[in-house]
Symmetry: D2
Subunit: 366 residues, 4 copies
């Protein structure tokens, strides 16, 4: 590629200089696709401090409107609390910016859907910051499932527990489960489109919100997904088991020496005619095959996400984790909240799936 | 103690020579409290083979009635499928035998309650074979909770998964969860007496019954217990986390070098008056203290259980895991079956003590 | 195979009813190849107790001579302290018995060599009880090396440490290292035939013998083997790493879920001409490939060893772990003792094959 | 503390912008004690790139002499290959700079001793960059040993293996063992002052230097230290076991959830008169007590080291890891090289310990 073909760098601002914003800023700074031009935070000195720390020509803003007025900014990355996403995103879209939003996409499915529609109508990219979907481990899991290495999915069991900060504005489902849900959505070929969801939670400390949560999601073909999120565990576990008819995969994100293990093991079930009375009984046999742990490249997820964000803008296509993916996560979180409010009863997602989809996707693809 | 003070050995027969019976037989053989005098199995040659293997003066029976007629037998240990417990136990009680029954106590709470009543009326011991309650780890957990080392219990999370045999007659809840439930019942000072239970299950292989199960049990004071049982996991996990206001305990039964870990860590929550509008906000602080792993004696659980069985007979007192404990486990299992049959809705245990429905029993197989 | 073709069972006696004898006895009892006919121990009641425990027609002896006079006994398995092996084995060979001897084969290479010669002259089997060589993991390692999966061997690092009993009559090298050495001898296609050995030890408790030991064994082609044995470690480690030019294998014997791991990783070295002055420099590149963990059958090593003992007798061939293998282990142990006595200096094994000095034997206890 | 009491920041330059220099630079930048004023590297553009990256007013030099001429620089941190330390340090000392040198202190003990003498005579600080000695884990180990928690030290076993770059100019001992040796020197109350050392190495790849190394160091009272360093291991292990008469400590640096474990276990040895013939035998008993894992603060080692460097300059005292500590490490490395050249024979350190010590320390303390 000759120098003249190199696309010009896109120009991005980060809104929110709290916990996650600095990570985004650092990755835009070191990306060949992006120029980080501004940091914005209601707390002006905090914006300035981050701007100073990450580079030399980064401006600081405490006023979003002023930032959005700048015509030379192509995109904004939003790392503020979820309840502010709707207002900020709509404003930024109306100012013509492409958008990357921290998870969860919004504080309600309705808000999220409005954001997705607005982006679609304006032909702008709205990308969900589902960071885990850009890690080498999750990309590999998606590939393995897509190529049929696991066979049909039987179950997904995800555990994400740690001694964590009790968040002031959201419960443990909305804080942690977006990770698990966005990953499940990403690795399943059909995405995460359950009919219903059941949730159980507990608030034993009296924090005013669930600090421990269990989420059960019936999948197609009688398969099941289950997510355990917990702010009160003294030990840190981040583990996902995906069982299939052919093989079962274990992802242990805290074991850098063997993050992924693929077990060539399983239970084979044969329906067999037995005595007349009993009609049929299940014959069970075991496979105890080898275990295989694929080598994974060392690549930082945020860097890959920044690249995808730029590519989707340049190619005028939906990014890998688009607004629709963000909506699917929100749909599950909302159904979980409804189930939580009704003693764990399965809460249907049907009827909540307003038809944003095809129109929105088509619009983005132009 | 002089020889004349040594109590005479009690005489026991084992009924059932399948998977568990031989373990019981071996432990009675090597116990100073017991003489194993007979093995009984419908499959006569199997009874004979086990009798030959474990000792020199052990008789073999294929006819239970004949066995129970023997006046010189003080007690029987029953290791047959759960659906046979009710009939066998009633017959044995009527023959005046003390009884140890493999878990679950019975195939329904109603059946179990009848067994408990019959034993009480006859002044005979009916003991549930909740083996884990006799392991050094579980005994230590009970002590730690009793002495207040954990503070108030906030949550219990139990995982028991493995590549396991799909049982012909019960689902994964009835097969594996009795372990978790009997342990929780044993370590909680007040026992396991929940108001309600919620269960989610899946049968992705089409085995005709749940092979993956999740059980949620609200406890007192907004605490929660959760049990994950799974026959389809390629990796074996047997782990229980018990979180308390003071400390949190992790029991990893597959780590012989550090089975119990007590973490002096936790989240402290302080309710604090803040600005007028918001009234109060939770202030969170962390404790990251030391971890402590108590040394455990090397003692086989079955040996301790055989000793307790003998002692309860001699002292005319309820054994540590008595029929009532078995009933509490059955109550939860039945409520789980009802919940499973109604989309995971919280199923109350109240009012089901006396009259257990056939519907619920049928649901066991769902 | 019809019953008439089934070879008659061989008849065996176990000498030594201490720690290891009962294990051998149990395996002969459950083997289809063997009839266990007698137990012998200087402590008569102990012999009787073991005989009673393991079967119904097992005789007990406290007098070896009386045992060896029995013409109906084909073979003896000797599980007594190493210093008694020479006398017992020679007596048993002279009585026409095939022999299995617990490791180490003898208390000196000279004694061992005499035993091997005597067996050879009489056409009798003399087998070393190198139990690990019959485990599925070690058999798999041998296969992988034999088929070239690891490439050329670069290094072997073996660690066998635990809080262990300080043995009354041998140091930690003679107690534990026979395991590591017999395994290395078994898995290397050419066996363990080093030119020299270096040993370092320590006796920090003043036990009168080394309780911590390090053994370095230069192998062919500048490869190296190293063994760490230690009675004083609070944690138990049994791990062997075998590095090859193509792949590296890790055997973690205490991890039943993943005993063997084969890493497709390594350092590639390319000699390359560089600038004129420097002639050549090493270019290094890395391979970070997948990891693979072969499934291993669940088979008890002692059962496989009993089978091999019988097969070698019936076929009139050397067993897999023959007396020569035992001698190779002894040669290394003796050289280690000499090295220990001379400040860790590399001690040659050449010339010591025939005439082992008393000095070296004395050094065993150092 | 009022602003007038705050000591002025010291001014430092980093020499060497390769692998380690950037880490030092970042830590000086974020230290309240230091102003980083310059980066120097023979490769000018590399120096410039690092200077640009870490701050705004950092100058870049490719000429050391020019750098050292600057009177406003108080100290230099040297992160260049070991063979250049002697020349650079002497030049910097002669220019009046305090010095922090990357490990190993020099490429020979003689060179190192000359550096220490020169610094002492000039009253300047010469500090060894023994980074691990500033980690919370190692500081805790030192405290535990100092307060007698382990009792007398019986053995130290250190393993530091990984798939590592084959270094162009040093073997694996000089590359990795300085870590282990400096740690052992730091945690032992008397420092690392062995009489002799034995080393075994291997170069199975033909790299022209040892890539696998074993180092044995007899300690006082028949204790022993052993270090295993290895560039060719596919798995990464960084573990040190320190056995004492009272307790044993395991430091697993790759286990962030439980870096330190203190085992209240051990072997107790009692000399006891036995039967007349045998005079005395060792009676062994076990303690299997609890395990305890102290909480460690999260503190970056390099930050603590920068603080200590500043404090030692201000207070005119030897830093915790002074030049003498660096010399003790060099003495062991040199003895190891001699042992390696003589077949692993114990190589004495006596006579190599020229009396730099007291004079030098006195001079620094002024």
């Amino acid at each position: 590629m000759t120098a003249s073909k190199t696309p010009a760098r896109l120009r991005v601002a980060v809104i929110g200089a709290g916990y996650w914003g600095p990570n985004l800023a650092r990755n835009f700074i070191s990306s060949p696709d992006w120029d980080l031009v501004a940091i914005c935070d209601l707390d002006g000195p905090r914006a300035q401090a981050l701007a100073d720390r990450v580079g030399t020509n980064v401006a600081a803003y405490s006023d979003v409107a002023a930032l959005l007025e700048r015509r030379d900014i192509d995109a904004v990355a939003i790392a503020t609390p979820a309840r502010t996403h709707h207002t900020l995103v709509l404003a930024a879209l109306r100012a013509g910016k492409h958008i990357l939003v921290e998870k969860p996409l919004a504080d309600s499915r309705e808000h999220g859907a409005e954001m997705v529609r607005e982006a679609a109508e304006r032909g702008l990219i709205l990308m969900a910051d589902h960071t885990y979907c850009y890690t080498p481990a999750v990309i590999k899991i998606r590939e393995l499932i897509a190529e049929g290495a696991l066979g049909d999915i039987l179950f997904i069991d995800s555990v994400r527990i740690n001694l964590g900060l009790v968040q002031p504005d959201v419960n443990v489902f909305w804080d942690l489960a977006p990770h698990d849900l966005s990953i499940i959505d990403f690795v399943l070929p059909q995405g995460l489109r359950p009919q219903a969801v059941s949730a159980q939670g507990a608030d034993p400390l009296g924090a005013g919100k669930a600090c421990i949560g269990y989420l059960t999601i019936p999948l197609q073909n009688d398969a099941i997904a289950h997510v355990h999120v917990n702010w009160l565990s003294p030990t840190k576990i981040r583990q996902m088991v995906i069982g299939g008819t052919l093989r079962t995969l274990v992802w242990d994100d805290l074991n850098p020496q063997q993050r992924l293990s693929v077990y060539d093991r399983g239970v084979d079930l044969t329906q067999q005619a037995v005595d007349g009375a009993n009609a049929a009984a299940s014959m069970v046999s075991y496979r105890l095959g080898d275990t295989w742990s694929p080598a994974l490249p060392e690549r930082e997820a945020l860097g890959a996400m920044a690249e995808e964000f730029a590519a989707s803008i340049r190619d005028g296509r939906a990014p890998r984790t688009d607004g629709e993916a963000g909506l699917r996560v929100l749909a599950v979180l909302e159904a979980a909240s409804r189930s939580l409010a009704s003693q764990g009863l399965l809460s249907s997602l049907a009827g909540h799936d307003a038809a944003v989809t095809d129109a929105a996707r088509a619009a983005v693809l132009r």
